[in-house]
């Protein structure tokens, strides 16, 4: 054999230097074990509503198996514009201001690539969804994390942003309701952020994929605030509220110039989102009140249950207000997040995700997803309680 250079040397340095997701890492450990109750799953346990699945079957039978327009089917974009107006409170022109994508994941990547020149700084709040930092880096941006804290209910404030802003700051990324903390922002909270964005002349990418999943009142979207629609890209999709993760369908709404730029990248790299998934999404928009409301009611009951159980066992947890995650603090128990999660997995066969998978400041926390049956949550809370009691007694 030749002493050939390592293939690693051929890799793009940005890609080479980005670590694998901490989630992936943990998944590999969990899959080696049996009878695990997982609170580690960031997707709904509900089945996709049957009328939606049935419409995909029908579309397949009819031969809807071709490329669609780059932006997506027009009737879907029209339905999306109506839905966005009703749910997020901003008007978009379906001809030029709505782009159908392969999940919010793709939309996020497109938005960043459309905006970022090498070296531009992107503000994002941590703990956050695992992809943000990496997606910014792949777009050759400079990720600037802003730490949110449990004392504040993991909300973002203007002061936190100001401390991290420089002349190179171009984009602010928001995600409320938040994965992994379950935090939301009130209208007043968002108004402060909006004023800051206007003053600093920033563009916002707002990932509101959990927008429907709030439990004590209505979600307020950033784009409904004065002036924000014209300097924000709203990202939303069908994965969470409709339990359609495998359909891979999302969309972006924004000012025509930004959507056009995103469309160019999408056109050359993805061409279009799946035709079948687009048909299914159109059907999903036909009766969101019934489908989504039923799931939200069930999530609320689980949220109430898990929040009460955590308090009873003495794990401090700010009240989760949206999405389907609780983010309790395990800081007082003498273990790092990762060691806590590993020990819990080995001793009690319950999987939670170490907070550090969502940013350095996630140390001291674990994410418990309640997108699983009441039976599982109940059993997991019993085991967790036993585990915490053992740690506290120093056993």
């Amino acid at each position: 054999m030749n002493a050939s250079p390592s293939l690693r040397d051929f890799l793009n340095v940005t890609v080479r230097d980005i670590p694998r997701s901490g989630i992936r890492d943990f998944f590999d450990i969990v899959t080696t074990m049996k009878d695990v109750i997982s609170l580690g799953i960031g997707e709904p346990d509900f089945d996709t509503p049957w009328h939606v699945r049935e419409s995909a079957v029908f579309a397949l039978e009819r031969g809807v198996t071709h490329y669609t327009s780059n932006l997506g089917y027009l009737d879907l974009r029209q339905a999306l514009a109506r839905y966005a107006a009703k749910t997020f409170g901003a008007e978009y022109n379906p001809q030029t201001e709505v782009l159908v994508t392969v999940g919010v994941s793709e939309a996020l990547d497109l938005a960043l690539r459309a905006l970022i020149n090498p070296g531009d700084e992107v503000l994002y709040h941590e703990p956050c969804y695992v992809s943000y930092r990496a997606t910014i880096l792949f777009a050759h941006g400079v990720p600037v994390e802003v730490e949110t804290r449990a004392e504040n209910g993991f909300r973002l404030t203007r002061a936190m942003l100001e401390a991290r802003t420089t002349p190179r700051t171009k984009v602010l990324m928001l995600n409320f309701p938040n994965n992994p903390t379950g935090a939301i922002m009130s209208r007043a909270d968002l108004e402060d952020i909006a004023a800051f964005v206007r003053e600093r002349n920033l563009i916002v990418i707002t990932d509101e994929i959990y927008g429907e999943l709030t439990y004590d009142g209505q979600h307020t979207s950033l784009v409904s605030l004065p002036g924000m629609r014209d300097r924000a890209i709203l990202l939303h999709g069908f994965s969470k509220a409709w339990a359609m993760t495998g359909f891979r369908l999302g969309y972006a709404c924004g000012p025509a110039e930004l959507i056009e730029a995103m469309m160019k990248i999408h056109q050359y790299t993805m061409l279009c989102a799946s035709s079948l998934s687009q048909k299914a999404a159109l059907e999903a928009l036909a009766r969101p009140e019934t489908d989504v409301t039923e799931m939200v009611d069930e999530y609320r009951r689980r949220r109430n249950f898990i929040a009460a159980a955590l308090v009873e066992m003495g794990l401090p947890c700010h009240r989760p207000l949206g999405a389907f995650y609780a983010f309790p603090s395990i800081a007082g128990l003498g273990l790092s997040s990762r060691d806590f999660a590993l020990k819990l997995l080995h001793e009690e066969r319950v999987a939670v995700v170490p907070g550090t998978a969502f940013g350095v400041c996630g140390e001291g926390f674990v994410r418990c997803a309640y997108a699983t049956s009441m039976r599982n949550i109940e059993e997991a809370m019993l085991r967790l309680k036993r585990f915490v009691a053992r740690l506290k007694s120093g056993a």
Partner: protein, 159 residues
Amino acid sequence: MDELLKILQTNALESRENLARMLGCSVTDIEKRIATFEKSGVIRGYQAILNEDQLDLEKVTAVIEVKVTPQREGGFDTIAERVSRFPEVRSAHLMSGTYDLLLFVEGRTLREVASFVSERLSPLEGVLSTSTHFMLKTYKRFGVLMHQDDSDERLSVSP
């Protein structure tokens, strides 16, 4: 519908403690509310939902459409209540459309059900005609699929 009733309707065995956590109230509250529903007759009982096809039962179920003449006093209720009292009749509904009552009738054999229809049901005063259909297989009862497994296709940890 009341949220407590909604939960009980999907799982009547849910513990009082769990119900209290889910609804954010005390166990005593839950007990009081359930007692009130039971007393007022809103909750009339608790039963298991069986997949009877899985049991080797000697049993047939017929769905019977019945046309009746409403009584001078009491309208359809008098005849419907009279019919409902037969233990063979498992459920009875007043319907719109081409017939009036829809009955679910159980017996051990086809013959037993047939004789119930000809000897007890049809001769009743006010019953004009019946049409009997035998049930062959059950796919779903009370909103529960009978042949579905609960396998979880999701990855065990995901972002």
